[in-house]
Amino acid sequence: MSEKPEHFIIDGKRLDGRRVDELRSVKIKLSPLDRADGSCYLEWGRNKIMAAVYGPRELHPRHRQDMTKAVVQYRYNMAAFSVNDRIRPGHSRRSIEISKVGRDAFEYVLFTKFFPKTAIDIFIEVLQADAGTRTAGINAASLALADAGIPMRGLISACAVGKVDGEIVLDLMKEEDNFGEADVPVAMTAGGKITHLQMDGHLTRDEFYEALKLAKIGCDKVYKLQRQALIEKYSGEYAENDEDAIPQAQIGDADE
């Protein structure tokens, strides 16, 4: 592990030049995978994430079928080569936990009742990890679900907030994650309903409240990027139909 930097924020700029409320650069590619029903490749800073969705499809074994709705399955996995020291392939306790809360983050928005007895499978592969893989995975999964044509209330957008040098900052990079004072990954609907929330480190109540508000700002930014990616996928004939063409009131209030 690298040395802890003396300062994380100098003259309002972070180690990678970002302001405290700035996201890392995000690149989105929809439907990169041919076999999956929906897929998304996401670069988030130096994170590289692939998400694939299969389903609704028949669920095996049969005793796991739910007669009233589709069962959502979420598998977060880090490739053995995704970090400096090779990690043992397969499920770790960390990946099992992230998979569980990842699944929880989506159940609220998916219309699972339309597809009794089936499974909706969401697979996340972290190909290159650089802090914030669970939130990046949620963002990619959200787009892969839309791409698969799965009916949902709206997209889920996620980002992490944290604390370094005593300041609340958006979207922790590796050094900030390793040596920072707190890490709060959050996922929300466009309307600001929280579907995923974890926290570790140390924050006062007021700092946490500030962090949540910054997370909302971050998730709003992510939502715009996700929306833009979906609209632009078919932009050949529809370049004029980007955000400008849609009244602002339609955006960002999907469950108020």
Binding site: M1, D66, D85, R93, R94, I96, E97, S99, K100, V101, D104, E107, Y108, V184, M188, T189, G192, K193, I194, T195, H196, L197, Q198, M199, D200, G201, H202, L203, T204, R205, F208, Y209, L212, K213, K216
Partner: protein, 259 residues
Amino acid sequence: MSDDVMAEIHRDYLFNLVLKGERDDGRAFDEFRDISIETGVAGMAEGSALVTLGDTQILVGIKIQPGEPFPDTPDVGVIITNAELIPMASPEYEAGPPREGAIEIARVVDRGIRESKAIDLEKLCMIEGEKVWIIFIDIHVLNNGGNIIDAASIGSIAALLSTTLPAERYGLGEDSPLPVRDIPVAVTAIEFGGELLLDPSLEEGKLAGTVYTVITNSDGGISGMQKSGIEPLTIDQVMRVVDMAGTAAVKIREKFLEV
């Protein structure tokens, strides 16, 4: 899960109670069930605690042995937390390796202890990069009466407070108490009928669309959180739980003075 099916009329009953501001066992929304803590119950362990929280019974045992540190943290001791939902504790539990529910419980409890820096891990380093103390926290759920996370968190820190470093056994000097310097307390709430209820009973836990845990330290700071379950929460709801949890944790921490 289908084995959690509850009769619709019973659900309605509980729902209507909440609308009237009541709970089935008569508690206020922010009231915990009775807590008892008994330490030193497992003689072969370096520390242990039996905690009851209402009907829930959890035994936490601490084992300590010397070992190698993790390569990325060569100068501090190691904490390894594990939870077992043994078949004895509920008809719904099955034998076998821990599944996601047990793993989540262990990781949330671990998070609270680690992030609060309750254990002075630097003091557990003997030779940098070579030899440190490894602390195993094993959470054994004996009876699932609901809200396992809070009971496990109380049990773990209580057990740690009663733990002795077994230096003599390994020829590494004299035994000494484990250096514990804070009491992180997990407080869990559920959302049901638009209300927030602390310390959910087994039945209330089954009703819950969302389960939200906040871990606070003696200074009132927050050192861990976990939201679980499929229903979302608003920012206002989250902050209400944070405030309720802070107040409840102060009362729970007083229990430790009685031990």
